[in-house]
């Protein structure tokens, strides 16, 4: 649209407001005007539709092929990066889990060892199947030697935890005869009847006590009686404080780790 030659701008400026008012008061209804009106209407309609389409619809549906290729490349690259990241995280998780499992296994092992050693050292109470050996000593002939012998036989039969009256018997236990009667076990005086609470395989222990020349026979020689009863649930509740060991230290080599 270029102005036709010869038209002065000033004349047009002076009257545009007046022309505007005049056109509103007396609209000219010829074909050209109507067509112009229709085209303006079309433009407004299309503009509004386009604006709403942009708001609502997906941009991808109307995009060009080259744009779509670029978008696809971007998305593929992102997917690859995320896949790598996922793999890294997966392996990290496995490392941590495996590490945690190993830690857990080591912890369980250590706890088991501590329990076993505690039972052996007499610092932990124990329970399990076993045998109860009750020794009646009417003649008073049962001495420290007899009890020590009985203890040894029980150990040989595979006893794991042993309690005599109220004293826990361990590797360092000693028996002493007391002149006035009774026996000193690890410094604790006990008297008849002597009751051994033994945790171990009931059949093995009971059989071992009964063999010819075994504990029961020795007791019979001393006019004492021994009563053996197998129990499925023996409780060895007596415990002892761990012995102080001022001289020995653990040496570096640890077998059985």
């Amino acid at each position: 649209m270029r102005p036709r030659a010869g038209t002065s701008d000033d004349a047009a400026e002076a009257t545009w407001l007046a022309r505007l008012r005049r056109s509103f008061r007396e609209p000219r209804l010829n074909r050209g005007q109507v067509l112009a009106g229709i085209l303006c209407g079309l433009l407004a309609f299309a503009a509004v539709v386009q604006i709403r389409a942009r708001d609502a619809g997906s941009q991808l549906a109307g995009a060009r092929e080259s744009d779509l290729v670029v978008i696809l490349d971007g998305v593929t690259g992102q997917a690859e990066r995320l896949e790598d990241e996922r793999r890294d995280l997966q392996s990290a998780k496995e490392r941590l889990e495996f590490g945690a499992d190993r830690e857990q296994a080591a912890l369980e092992q250590a706890t088991e060892r501590a329990t076993t050693l505690g039972i052996l050292a007499g610092t932990l109470a124990a329970k399990g199947p076993g045998v109860r050996l009750t020794i009646q000593d009417p003649a008073g002939k049962v001495d420290a030697d007899t009890l020590l012998n009985a203890l040894q036989e029980l150990r040989d039969a595979g006893a794991e935890a042993i309690q005599l009256n109220a004293v826990r018997l361990v590797a360092s236990t000693d028996f002493l005869d007391v002149a006035s009667g009774g026996i000193l076990v690890d410094g604790t005086r006990i008297q008849a009847p002597y009751t051994f609470l033994v945790i171990g395989d009931p059949d093995t222990v009971a059989t071992a006590l009964d063999i010819p020349g075994g504990v029961l026979d020795v007791l019979a020689e001393r006019d004492a009686t021994g009563e053996v009863s197998k129990r499925p649930d023996v409780r060895v509740d007596a415990v002892r404080a761990p012995d102080p060991m001022p001289n020995s230290r653990a040496s570096r080599s640890e077998r059985g780790q």
Partner: protein, 110 residues
Amino acid sequence: MIAAIGLFIGVLAGLLVQPTVPLWLQPYLPIAVVAALDAVFGGLRAWFEGVFDDKVFVVSFVANVVIAAFVVFLGDQLGVGGQLSTGVVVVFGIRIFANAAAIRRHIFHA
């Protein structure tokens, strides 16, 4: 003026009808709107200068829209659709600015 009334009716129709744009039309509609906008601004400037001719307006409107759509279509076929579309929009933008500046000078004398 009939044109102003037409504009108004068109806006109302667009808001009320809310049609969905067909897929084949979607890349071309914005270009067509910008081209038509250039024609309208040109017509407005002509009216301010007192030389508005409806026949010239109609022809320029239709020609702008058709040529712009054709150029963009050609660009798509050649594989430079994005660039040509940008170019068309830039050119029409420049023309709209020029017409708007002339109109501004008419209204504000500045």
